[in-house]
């Protein structure tokens, strides 16, 4: 076992899988020679050659559109969008083809491909480099949306995504790309897509989050614990199809629900989970199921960033509000 950062775990997953499967092709802007602007694909071209890992022209629709063709023809493209904010030129290919080829052909064609990109804010970046787009993809029938929160999860989930028979949007929380190291097995392993992870057991409140936001959520849980408030923390891991059962079981136990996510609040992931909780645990609710999400504003440039990001204290305060409801 090596202690890897989330970024290294992503790189490791690609290395391991590419050595297992000759059909995996990795490409995108700057992913070849440079190994990606974050170095997520570093070393892949040296290891597997220019044909399997290379720099594409600067065109996201072209990248995803050609990946669709490769997947149809039996390859397994794993393409990179350089940043979350640059997936939009490919949106038409994703919504009208990636998500639909299987149904359109009634199962004749499937698209085992992965679209991965660094995701989310908090790195004091330029405009379009801090976006949270998961709700847009989760709302689109035919896609799977996965967001890891630890190095271990990143490797296991990315390998699952690559082996998945259906297309997966794989969003990598860039804010924690390098922040923590974790022991990660050297060999290939998978984690189930569609399964949430109960990270902390508690009875006072159920908090669901995912990605980089898990950091503050767990800090908040620890702070609350010091005041003898034990909250249950669930890492969603997969945004669609999300793990309704695990959430509902927890809410039935705690009677209180809080979902925390960085992406915009309105029409966001929190709304969906609150609706699900209403559908399946209404009678267990002792307080309004609550969302603490990003503001519905354009992600601010660095000088305003601190106002947008959801701090540990805000989570603590919101949790107490719900518990003392």
């Amino acid at each position: 076992m090596k202690a890897l950062t989330l970024l290294q775990a992503v790189n490791d997953a690609l290395k391991v899988e590419m050595s297992n499967d000759k059909n995996i092709i990795v490409y995108g802007e700057d992913v070849g020679v440079e190994g990606g602007v974050f170095r997520a694909t570093e070393g892949l071209q040296k290891l597997y050659g220019e044909e399997r890992c290379f720099d594409s022209p600067l065109a996201e629709s072209g990248i995803v559109g050609t990946a669709i063709g490769m997947a149809v023809a039996g390859l397994k493209p794993v393409v990179e969008m350089q940043f979350d904010g640059f997936v939009f030129p490919a949106f038409n290919q994703i919504v009208t083809h990636v998500a639909r080829m299987r149904n359109r052909s009634r199962g004749t064609w499937s698209l085992p491909l992965v679209i991965r990109f660094p995701y989310g804010g908090g790195i004091r970046a330029l405009e379009h480099h801090s976006e949270s787009t998961e709700a847009l993809f989760a709302h689109t029938p035919g896609l799977k949306v996965v967001i890891p929160s630890t190095p271990y999860d990143a490797k296991g989930l990315l390998i699952s995504a690559i082996r998945d028979p259906d297309p997966v949007i794989f969003a990598e929380p860039k804010r924690i790309y390098r922040s923590v190291r974790q022991e990660v097995p050297e060999e290939a392993y998978t984690l189930p897509i569609g399964k949430a992870n109960v990270v902390r057991v508690g009875d006072a409140l159920t908090i669901v989050s995912y990605g980089a936001q898990m950091k503050e959520v767990l800090e908040a849980a620890a702070k609350l614990a010091q005041e003898h408030i034990n909250v249950e923390v669930i890492d969603l891991r997969t945004i669609y199809p999300f793990d309704r059962q695990t959430i509902i079981d927890s809410v039935k136990k705690t009677g209180r629900f809080l979902v925390v996510h960085e992406g915009p609040t309105n029409f966001g992931v929190g709304a969906e989970l609150i609706a699900a909780v209403n559908e399946d645990a209404f009678l267990y609710l002792e307080a309004p199921p609550t969302r603490l999400g990003g503001f519905n504003v354009t992600f601010p440039l660095p000088r305003g960033e601190k106002h947008y990001m959801i701090s540990t204290d805000r989570i603590v305060q919101k949790a107490k509000e719900i518990i003392s409801y």
Binding site: I25, E51, S56, P57, A59, S61, G62, V64, G65, T66, A67, I68, G69, M70, A71, V72, A73, G74, L75, P77, P89, N92, Q93, T96, H97, M101, R102, N103, R104, S105, R106, G107, T108, W109, S110, P141, G142, K144, P165, D166, G194, Y240, P241, F242, R244, Q245
Partner: protein
């Protein structure tokens, strides 16, 4: 390879003129038996097309995009391919589907409004109808990359319309094909209109074929109503692609004799006069004149053939009409290899509702 027909010099490849006579620099590419076979295929496509339109008029079929007048671009091109070559169509290539051997039943079932029609299996190596304009051209480039990667000697033919050349995706496809130097042919059926919008409103360029050169790709304009020109251009481009020569952009200069779709009224944007002019350039007409002159066929054979085709198509369409509609399961179960809980839940709730309704 097509130097002799540089579109930038206003040249267009044509081997047989509107009267079924070979042009000076032309000549037979296919022998008379092959031409007879091609003629039958075009005639079959024409009959099927006209019947589809009439079914729609009778209210038995939904929106249908006629290809009348464009047959040569499809029959000629697919005949020039190997069975292992890929076809990436848009939505007006029924003649290409038929020439590849896909049962007409499938296309009619699809047009009838049932996705099951696109479930034709992988062996035909043809992708489902693609409606988002020009988006499919990128898929073709990706398949071409895969063919080279897997060292298959298959190439890819994709279709796009004149209107489609205005889309970013079309230009990205040309560019990726060029940089990757992959075995793909991008075939523009320039039928002069994008619904009501005439070709000259799409781009200021004189031809669509010349678009290719700015991407380092070879482009050629051909008479898309001359099946031999189509066959030769595609054959040469395919051989080039197979031998590592990379992509080719072909502009088939043709005309949509029918409406854009059965819900379109062409009189709003073009004159009968213009249509009449193009009827004289009908790809089937000129081949017929040639074959008759060669005594390979008679008017009488043709009408017999036509009747025969009508019967066949009608039988097929009746099968379509008696096909089963999709069940609730059908509209759910093909989105993922395994249906996620959220979909099962929605499906079950709906089925329960239907039960109670009974």
């Amino acid at each position: 390879m097509f130097e002799k027909y540089d579109p930038r010099e206003g040249k267009r490849l044509q081997l047989m003129d509107e009267n079924g006579k070979f042009t000076p620099n032309g000549g037979p590419i296919l022998n008379d038996d092959e031409l007879l076979d091609a003629f039958k295929k075009m005639l079959y496509a024409r009959v099927a097309d006209e019947m589809a339109v009439s079914y729609q008029r009778q209210g038995r079929l939904l929106t249908y995009p006629p290809l009348k007048g464009q047959e040569a671009n499809q029959v000629g091109a697919v005949l020039a391919l190997k069975k292992t070559d890929w076809i990436v169509p848009t939505f007006r290539e029924h003649a290409a589907w038929a020439t590849r051997g896909v049962p007409l039943y499938n296309l009619l079932l699809y047009t009838y409004g049932n996705e099951e029609g696109m479930n034709v299996g992988k062996d035909f190596r043809i992708l489902p109808v693609s409606i988002p304009i020009a988006s499919q051209t990128l898929h073709a480039v990706g398949i071409a990359y895969a063919m080279r990667y897997k060292k298959e000697d298959s190439i890819v033919l994709t279709y796009v319309g004149d209107g489609g050349t205005s889309q970013g995706d079309f230009n990205e496809a040309l560019n990726f094909a060029g940089v990757w130097n992959v075995p793909v042919i991008i075939y523009i059926q320039n039928n002069q209109f994008a619904i009501s919008v005439p070709r000259f409103k799409q781009t200021a360029a004189k031809t669509l074929a010349e678009r290719a050169f700015g991407f380092g790709v070879e482009g050629v304009q051909i008479d898309g109503n001359d099946i031999q020109a189509v066959y030769q251009a595609v054959k040469l481009a395919a051989d080039k692609a197979r031998s590592g020569g990379g992509p080719t952009l072909i502009e088939g200069f043709t005309y949509r004799l029918g409406a854009h779709t059965t819900s379109d009224d062409p009189t709003k944007y073009r004159s009968d006069e213009e249509v009449k002019q193009w009827e004289l350039r009908d790809p089937i007409l000129r081949l017929k004149l040639y074959l008759i002159s060669k005594k390979k066929i008679t008017e009488d054979d043709i009408s017999k053939m036509t009747e025969q085709f009508k019967k066949e198509v009608d039988e097929i369409f009746r099968k379509v009409e008696s096909s089963k509609d999709p069940t609730p399961e059908d509209i759910f179960k093909y989105h993922y290899k395994e249906m996620p809980y959220e979909l099962k839940r929605q499906l079950n709730e709906y089925k329960t509702y239907l039960e109670e309704g009974k």
